[in-house]
Amino acid sequence: MISPELKKVILKELNLDDFDLKDETTAPEVPGWDSLNHINIILAVEEYFKIKFKSYEVLRLKNVGDLQKLVDSKTGKK
């Protein structure tokens, strides 16, 4: 499940009103989420949740569900 907070941060960064983000959603499926914009989303997530990612943690992400899990592990939620 993608948390409403993470969804809000991502959609705001992409200027989208609404988009159904599922665990298995990948970046190319979301309008505007390209390889250039990707880093802005990562940065926005870092700033919103006040966490810092390591490069390998981000580079191995395959879908939004992976990002959610990473955020959860960083913020202490399991």
Binding site: L36, H38, I39, I42, L59
Partner: protein
């Protein structure tokens, strides 16, 4: 008795390494060997060990025919990458993993740098320090850039834990040595390729149609268009641009863009087609690149396996490092990526300049993206066919210009060609040109026309070939080979991309 000895010697000579006679796809010897391998491959298709054995042995022989005893590098590379990556994967801790990763990267780049860049570095030292060090006699093993990058995508994916290490050395060797994409790509992903080794090859009717289409199209692109126009036109103009009018120079610039596309994508087409016949699906490498509406779009269509590699393993890590710089971080990452992309193509300032040009195009486009879009919206031309048309034309000319830089081993050539085009154009000689060089003109025209045929038509042709009975398929191949033979000049032109 003597006669038998003589012909036996001749045959042995033919089978031995010969610098001027590599075993490339468009040679009769390759077709002959491939046919034999294909027969055995199909006879023993149920036995994985025999399949793997056949692929490894033939790939090594294929590489031996191209580089002689330097084929050992391939084996060294396989052993280093397989065992060190296996060792790396035993560490859960990423700090330790990173140290092994750095070791593997250094070893790979050291081998690559020694063979490819030593003399270039010596030349720079000479120029900077005003010294006179003699260049070393280092043999450049063709394809080394391609298989080094192929090995590295495996290493990186295992490092990131998105891929499990190959089960055994022989599986990894099949991936690394695989002769269809060994010399000039596609730089296939281990994650896509390795699972295919276990599967018993199955070739559907559609696959076969696609394979025959790709092999035929590739052969025609390479032999009929690229070789012919380079040998008989482009090379001559670029040897002495100032002897020709601007019109002829401009046609040479267009001709070269078409030549390099047909040469390289033709080779990729053949590689993908041949791989299909062995039951392997390789990644796509070209998607009508001259239809691109921007330089970024061009790189999504040109040498896709390399641009994806650079995106995943070079651009993304740099981009992440500079993420706090926002837009400027992206621009820096783009520029560095393309600069190194240029260097990957060869040890020469022309390649570096070519990479820098693309890096500049890409990062500049990013900088002006917002005001540009606002401007298009204001003019109400955003997403219109009108705008697209101009975008295609402008992108094509930027790309064609960059290829001129790519081609120029001496930067003054670029100046000469451009100056002829702008100061000595003489457009009126076009009728004379068509009259004197009808075949060149037709080939360039037909080459570009075919490039712009809609994808739907191409797919229809593939389907049509798929449903053609076997003798029809054989006839298509026979006709294509016959046409290619007609066009083949006395010597086979080496593939442009081989030198990288």
């Amino acid at each position: 008795m003597m006669l038998i000895n003589l012909s036996l010697d001749k045959i042995l000579d033919l089978l031995k390494y010969n610098q001027n006679d590599p075993l490339i796809f468009s040679t009769i010897l390759f077709l002959f060997f491939f046919f034999i391998v294909l027969i055995f491959y199909n006879l023993f298709s149920k036995n994985k060990n025999i399949r793997v054995f056949l692929l490894i042995i033939f790939s090594l022989y294929f590489y031996y025919k191209v580089v002689g005893f330097y084929f050992i590098i391939l084996i060294v590379s396989a052993v280093i990458n397989f065992y060190l990556t296996k060792w790396m994967s035993t560490y859960e801790n990423f700090t330790k993993r990173r140290w092994v990763l750095i070791l593997i990267i250094v070893l790979n780049l050291a081998i690559l740098a020694y063979f490819k860049y030593t003399n270039f570095i010596l030349q720079i030292i000479n120029d900077v320090a005003n010294k006179n060090i003699e260049p070393l006699a280092i043999f450049l093993p063709i394809g080394i850039s391609f298989y080094t990058f192929k090995a590295l995508n495996y290493v990186f994916d295992v490092y990131l834990d998105t891929l499990k290490p190959a089960k055994n050395l022989s599986d990894f060797c099949v991936f690394l040595f695989f002769f269809p994409n060994l010399l000039a790509g596609p730089i296939d992903r281990a994650s896509e390729f390795l699972p295919q080794i276990d599967k018993e090859p199955f070739i559907s009717k559609e696959d076969l149609g696609k394979a025959i289409f790709l092999i035929s199209a590739g052969l025609l692109k390479k032999v009929v268009i690229a070789d012919y126009i380079s040998l008989n036109y482009v090379d001559r103009i670029f040897d002495f641009p100032i002897r020709y009018t601007g019109l002829e120079n401009l046609i040479a610039v267009y001709g070269y863009a078409l030549q390099i596309y047909c040469d390289f994508s033709g080779y990729s087409d053949m590689a993908i087609g041949i791989a299909i016949l062995l039951g392997f699906k390789l990644m796509d490498n070209f998607n009508s690149p001259f239809k691109a509406t921007s330089i970024a779009d061009f790189w999504r269509r040109w040498h896709i396996s390399l641009s994806k590699w650079l995106l995943d393993y070079l651009f993304r890590p740099i981009q992440f490092k500079f993420r706090n710089l926002h837009l400027y971080g992206n621009m820096i990452a783009l520029f560095i990526t393309f600069l190194l992309c240029g260097l990957w193509h060869g040890a020469g300032w022309n390649f570096i300049l070519w990479g820098a040009l693309h890096g500049f195009f890409m990062s500049f486009a990013l900088l002006i993206q917002k005001p540009k879009n606002a401007f298009y919206t204001k003019l109400r031309i955003k997403n219109t066919r009108f705008l697209k048309f101009f975008q295609v034309i402008i992108t094509f000319h930027l790309v064609a210009f960059s290829f001129l830089v790519f081609r120029a081993n001496n930067i003054s050539l670029v100046g000469q060609v451009i100056s002829q085009i702008f100061t000595f154009f003489h457009g009126e000689i076009i009728t004379q040109f068509i009259e004197k060089l009808p075949l060149i003109f037709t080939l360039i025209l037909v080459g570009y026309l075919f490039h712009f045929i809609p994808l739907s038509l191409e797919n229809k042709i593939k389907k049509l070939i798929a449903v053609t009975p076997w003798f029809g398929k054989a006839l298509i191949l026979a006709v294509v080979i016959w046409i290619a033979a007609q066009f083949k000049s006395a010597d086979i032109q080496p593939f442009i991309y081989f030198q990288f």
